[in-house]
Subunit: 213 residues, 2 copies
DNA sequence: GACTCACGTTACCGCTAGTAACACGCACGT
DNA sequence: ACGTGCGTGTTACTAGCGGTAACGTGAGTC
C-alpha cells in the first residue's frame, strides 16, 4: 500500500514537473536565457516557491531543461556518427546534423551554449565548470566514437579525447559564426570544415610573393 | 586655449579611467566575471555613479576591460603567427601561445570567454551577438593570416574565414577542457591538435573488428 | 470531528544594476 | 571681490532579481 501510494504521488509529481519544464521551455524560447523565475512561474500558472520545491534553484531548473535538449541533440548526432558509411561521409553527416539543429532553433541553441551561470552565490573558480555542458558531453561522445572506430596507435585514448573536444569546438565556433553572418550555405560550410579536418590546410602551398601581394 | 584646456581635462579623465579599469581588473581577477559594480567601485575607492559616468553601464565597463586583455593576447598571437618559420611550426607556436596565456591567468580567460551578458534590459535575439567577442576577433585575424599566406585556390576567402573560426574554436574548446582536467602536458596537447589539423584523422585506418572490440 | 500533510499562497530578505538629486571646489568673466 | 558655471563626488533611492519563511487550505484517515 505504502509503495503504491507513493508511486501515485510520485507520478503526479513527475507529471507536474514535466508541465513545469514545458512552461519553462516556452518562456526560455521566448525570453532567452535570462528568463526570470517569476516569468516561468507565471507561464506555468503558479508561483515561485513551487518551482523551487521542484528544482531546488534556478541552476537546477536550467540543468533539467538543458538535459532534455542536450539528450535529444546527442541522439541525433549519435545516429549520424554510427551510420554505416565512409568516414568522411559520417563526418559530414554529423556536422550537417548539428548545424541543421542550431539553424532550426537558434534560441534553444543559445540557451544551451550560454547558460549565463548557475548559482551566483557559490563561486567556485574551477575554470570550465560553468562552461556549457553540452560542449563537454559532445566532446566526450565524439572522443569515444573516435577511439572505438579509428586506429590511432599508441596513446590513442588521450589523442581521441583531445580530438573529440577539439572537433566539437571547431564545429561549435564555426556554427556560431555562420549562424550570425550566414556567409554561405550549410552544405558549403560542412564541406569546408570537412576539408579542414582532412588536412587540406597542411596540403596547401604557400602563397607566392610573401607579404605585400 | 580652449583646446589645451580640454586636452588637460581629457588627460585627467583618461588617467582616471585607466585607474578605474585597473581596479576593475583586480576585482574581476579576484571575484570572477560576476564581480559587482559596487565591489569594483569600492576597490577603486569611489562610488558607483562615477563608474556609470565613465562607462555607461556594466556592459561598457566589461567591454573596455575585455578589450585590453583581448588586444594583449592578440598581439602575442600575431607575433607567433607572423614568425618566419615553417607553417607547422607557426601553428604549434600559436597554439602554445594561446594555451600558455589561458594557463597563466585562468580567471582572465574565463572572464573573456563567459562575459555573462552585457545589457539585461535589451534582449535582441541575434544569436552570437552576446557571444565572446574574443573568439570572433581571433577567428577573423586567423582568417586573414590564412588568406594572406596560404594558397587555397578559388573561393579562398570564404574558406579561410571558415577555417579561421573553426580552428580558433578547436583551440578554445580543447583548451577549456584541458584547463579543467589537465589530462596531459601543454606540449602534448599542442602536438595532438597540430596532428589533427595536419589530417591525421583522415590518414588513420579503421579499427579492425567493428563494434565489439 | 480532529489530525496530518502535500499543495499553494503572500510577504518578505538581501542583493543587484542603474539613477536622481544634492553638495563641494575651482577656474572663469565682469 | 564676487557670483557663476562646471566637473567631481556623494547619499539615497527605484525596480527587479533569486531565494525563503510563514501562513492558508483542501483531501484523505483514524
Amino acid at each position: 500500500m505504502d509503495t503504491t501510494q507513493r508511486t501515485e504521488q510520485q507520478r503526479s509529481a513527475d507529471r507536474r514537473r514535466r508541465e513545469l519544464l514545458e512552461a519553462a521551455d516556452r518562456v526560455v524560447l521566448r525570453d532567452g536565457p535570462q528568463a526570470s523565475m517569476n516569468a516561468i512561474a507565471a507561464e506555468a500558472g503558479i508561483t515561485k516557491p513551487i518551482l523551487y520545491r521542484h528544482f531546488g534553484d534556478k541552476g537546477g531548473l536550467y540543468a533539467a531543461l538543458a538535459k532534455r535538449h542536450t539528450d535529444a541533440l546527442l541522439d541525433s548526432l549519435r545516429a549520424a556518427l554510427d551510420a554505416p558509411a565512409e568516414r568522411r561521409e559520417r563526418v559530414e553527416a554529423t556536422l550537417d546534423t548539428y548545424l541543421a539543429a542550431i539553424e532550426a532553433r537558434p534560441q534553444v541553441y543559445r540557451f544551451l551554449m550560454h547558460p549565463s551561470d548557475g548559482s551566483p552565490g557559490e563561486q567556485g573558480f574551477d575554470v570550465g565548470k560553468h562552461s556549457a555542458p553540452l560542449l563537454r558531453r559532445m566532446g566526450e561522445e565524439l572522443a569515444q566514437v573516435i577511439e572505438d572506430r579509428v586506429d590511432l596507435g599508441p596513446g590513442s585514448q588521450q589523442l581521441a579525447r583531445v580530438w573529440g573536444h577539439g572537433i566539437v569546438g571547431m564545429m561549435h565556433a564555426a556554427g556560431d559564426w555562420w549562424l550570425g553572418e550566414r556567409p554561405c550555405t550549410r552544405a558549403e560550410l560542412v564541406r569546408s570544415l570537412a576539408d579542414l579536418l582532412w588536412g587540406r590546410l597542411a596540403a596547401a602551398g604557400d602563397k607566392l610573393g610573401g607579404p605585400g601581394v
